[in-house]
Symmetry: D2
Subunit: 370 residues, 4 copies
């Protein structure tokens, strides 16, 4: 069993998620390449030390640059706020480390391109944390599409909705500042683009409208401060195959907690999925007796790999964190030269480019060819 | 008990639906004004006679103009294909009859305007068959919105999907010809506009994209014939109140049979509805203990009038045809000078105007102010 | 077109439902035998007159016996409280009328047997208002079972739950008195037995437990009064085919409004249905690729007759009242000598016998062979 | 940070699940007591060595007794087939180890009692793998019940259904032999009893009926062999509080994959849950405007601890394996003397006693007081 040394920067939402996944992957998947948790970094040195113990990292540091020089670290997980991605990723690549960076790549397109350039120069592998594509049900959809089970794809609809920005009484935060990006579009909307990519549904043209549900929010002193980002974005799309569709993004959608609703209409059937019920897939096939036709709700099970690596019994439910474990297992496959389902910086820049095109189409209020 | 004489033109899908509703309304609602089924018209005289017996009409005719001169006929139901609406409606109005016409008003905007002009001149009442607005659950939504239960409306999403045009092997029919109109947009999309109107959600700007899933269909001889209408239409909308949204229309959506999915996101909550489960309403309110928050699925019942006129027990389900009975009861209220929830030609022309604006925005590929 | 004269006793929940159905059936189904609404009876003469006008009956009376002598009345609908069924049904049969009586037959088994005896002597036809068996989805289930689509039936589970007796603060009413019967078992539980009968699933043995959620209720004066009926009944069953199952009845089930949940497990698949979503049927077939297996949710449509007589488009939803129209259309078929799906007094007495056996098994706390 | 040495016997379904949980718990929960994975045992020495590397155990053995003498092992996870539980658990306790044993305790009641006796003598702690009680939604239900949110519990219905024994063509296996126990009742039905216990709903009387859907199965040679276990069990229950209910168990239920459907009806509301959608909870409260009443579907989130330890965002879904991590975190709490939600041998024997009473009531076909 070979080992690969892991460095992790960040201990928040995604930091913990990465740590758990790196820790779990060998137990779940076995495999020849075993991750070794070498170093954990976060600005607060004490916190780094405490979390390193919890997460099982051998060393910790308050200075993430410490891991650049550490020969035991072969890959660096970057889970800090987006604005830090470029500096960290480029430094890591220049230090000869593989990079596993949370999405999106960077707040600006220029920085994302710098990251890609660094990746190309380094010869190292890069991976982006588009974990929703790892759901076995999403792979099942890809299998169905590739096999033509619903015929030609005529229309696709994607909705991604959460409500963490829905409360108008919540204070102005970094997410309302232009420095954080456009808003829903890049903050979480990139996930929907990764899904289309994973399903091999490429966009040809886009027309986007972004909106601010609340024009101002109160700052800590109770003064009104203008909101600079768009909590809602809606995109008309034309697909490269002649089909069409929509992407609707809303992080102010009261009641929606983790919704990524997908509808794919084809010439022979259709597919419906919702991330809030991530272990279910609904498939309609226009064949046979009309009296027997309807959507079939398939529960995730061992017939949908790699569900079987987690649980041998069907219908017992994977969870959100399990998707990260699958993502990490794909990374290990990639590092061993095997084919893997992942989005690297080359693919990631395509997503970032889509974001730019969408934002531009919003500004110009017209269709943009991507 | 006063009587109102009813003439009905057409015996197809909507013809039967009107007949059943005119026949049932007095039993369900009681009320002072009792409809009397006077005359049924359809081109085939024998069919007219047979259906008149089944539906309970006293007389029948193969020539609809016969009812214009009949003093016993006070209101005429027009349920023929759209292309006949203008001639019939105008003639009826000129003959001093009230007109109850199926939606949409006419294949062309000019004709619709003629119909409106005739209505204005006549002094008679007009009604359009936008039956989905009559669902007690839809009225409940209006009540919730008016009471501010979900706060300001920030975003509305409407999807109307059926699959009667989904099979590429189906022959070219009148619905694929330009004479029938634009396609999904006016054929059934107007229903979604009536719902927004009924909910008092007015549009300010629209941007529409229409699409043909199948460029050609075989005619009766097996030869390819170009499809001239758009089975799909997707519309970005800006609301007059500053909110935004989408309308998505697809009559080639395999698996969808009678879907009209509505999502309304507000500053204090949200509402979700689907016509395929027309007796259910989902309401989320952002208040109280977060551990207890979620969508509440309300089953239609006597607390949602006029459900109570049909069934005293809750959760026992109204059906599609019952909506038409409610529509007719509203017509009777209007004819007696009471306030009623209906869309007349004045409101109908607004919908037709929206259709025109959407079609124009599709052509110009840009936003149109409505 | 032949005519059949209808007399209706009662103008409440079921009285109105019968009236609407008798009025609608010819319009919906056409057919040779046309019902003529001859006379409406209810104790209050003025109410009878008013409702007769609303419902379209030619005559009205405060004395139901008036219709016995009326030669224009050929069939009598009995929709009064259960305690009046025996006297009315027997008198009607003796007067040479067909009888259409709401379920259950009678408060006591002896009376039900008298009714059956009267029916046998009369040579007239009898029909019981078990309308849930008329749902096209229920017929679809029967078709699937008969065709062996889910193999041998191994287990059936039926739950019927409403909450009209759920509030402990509600006053003692007739439903809490022993004179009304056992409680949930006969009050509405008989519906579940009619469904099993309609699906040809015959019971061989039963073991029933009845329960009182509230031992007392306050009377109009605020004094505690003992509750004599059982709002809950749970029955273990053995089927004649060797299978087994349960029937669970609860009229104090907060949140349930019209639930009749059916699960049928077979050797090759299973079927799941819920009356609260009466236009949906869920079917699982254990065949083909495990990765594609799941419950298929079928929406009621024209492929499920007689849905097509109401609406030509699928997924548009029948309602509860439509089931009564189907029931009446079956009665008309039966009266014309055609095969019909109905429960007459012969079959009804089987259901009443099951109720007796269940009540007895409750008393003896052991299995009873039926 | 103190350490606790873990020994694990078994590498199958539950073996892997325990290993993953022991490995993950510190990362997810932090906490002072850190598990150290000391030794893994399974009969096949090579397999033990390979899995030990995957799962992160320091040592491995083909002889589980090796861990009894190992002073670094403080607690032993037993995940072997039920028949091995007694010998292993008793030996472990006698060797001074804490015991964490998968459910049920033992194939026979006598053996289970021996296990309990050994536990009492040892002074060591014992834990049983009733992981379903660890779902945050289940804890939420307990909170609601304890707070009286749905009033007095009047009726509870539990269904546990899977289809791993549903195929009549599957060969006779150990699960069809009497040595494995009664069948559905103890094989997986004990889970439902653990849930009632966790919800503090104690049974007073039971009446059980067990059934064999298939009387024989073919052995490896194609010869018919009698099935000795019951794949179905249905139990009527009376609760200690005067309420009543049912437990329905079926491991031959085609289409059901991991269903544990719970319905609790109270005097003020009701609760509905299904393990196949383990991140959802449905609560009905009979209060306020009837027009607004319905089941509220709550998505699991940080407001339902310890969901927050896994994911900070609501509606993102825990999975089945996460429940085991929670279980292990409770074990660590217990070992540190804190209050924990677990079922030990003392509580476990109550469940085993219930199984005995149910089996006896099946045999005698009558109610048994428990």
């Amino acid at each position: 069993m070979e080992k690969i040394g892991v460095g992790l920067i960040g201990t928040g939402y995604m930091g913990k998620c990465h740590a758990l996944a790196w820790n779990a992957v060998q137990g779940v998947f076995g495999g020849k390449l075993k991750p070794e948790l070498v170093m954990l970094a976060t600005a607060n040195e004490e916190l780094a030390a405490a979390r390193a113990k919890d997460f099982g990292f051998a060393k910790s540091t308050g200075n993430w640059r410490d891991m650049l020089a550490d020969p035991d670290v072969h890959i660096i997980s970057i889970t800090t706020p987006n604005e830090f991605h470029p500096e960290m990723a480029i430094a890591a690549l220049q230090a000869g480390k593989h990079v596993y960076c949370e999405k999106p790549m960077a707040p600006s397109f220029a920085e994302a391109k710098n990251m890609l350039e660094a990746a190309r120069k380094s010869g190292k592998q890069t991976f982006l944390g588009y974990n929703y594509i790892q759901n076995p049900m999403m792979r099942r959809i890809r299998t169905l599409l590739d096999a033509g089970e619903i015929g030609d794809v005529l229309q696709v609809r994607l909705e991604m909705d959460e409500d963490f920005m829905a409360n108008p009484a919540d204070e102005w935060s970094i997410r309302s500042g232009a420095a954080s990006g456009f808003g829903a579009l890049d903050d979480f909307g990139v996930h929907t683009m990764s899904l289309l990519m994973a399903l091999n549904l490429r966009m040809a043209k886009v027309l986007c409208q972004m909106s601010k549900p609340y024009e101002t929010r109160k700052d800590a002193n109770g003064n009104k401060k203008p909101v600079e980002t768009y909590d809602m974005a809606t995109v008309l799309i034309e697909l490269a195959n002649g089909g069409n569709g929509t992407i609707q993004l809303n992080r102010s959608a009261w009641g929606r907690k983790g919704r990524i609703a997908l509808q794919v209409f084809g010439s022979k059937g259709s597919i419906v999925y919702d991330q809030e019920r991530m272990n279910e897939l609904n498939v309609y096939k226009a064949e046979g007796d009309p009296a027997a036709q309807g959507y079939t709700t398939i529960l995730a099970g061992p017939a949908h790999p790699p569900y079987d690596r987690f649980i041998p019994a069907p219908g017992h439910s994977l969870g959100f964190n399990d998707l990260k474990v699958i993502e990490v297992s794909e990374i290990l496959k990639s590092l061993q030269g095997e084919e893997a389902s992942l989005i690297d910086f080359e693919e990631g820049i395509v997503i970032e480019g889509l974001v730019q095109s969408m934002a531009k189409s919003h500004e110009k209020a017209c269709w943009i060819t991507v």
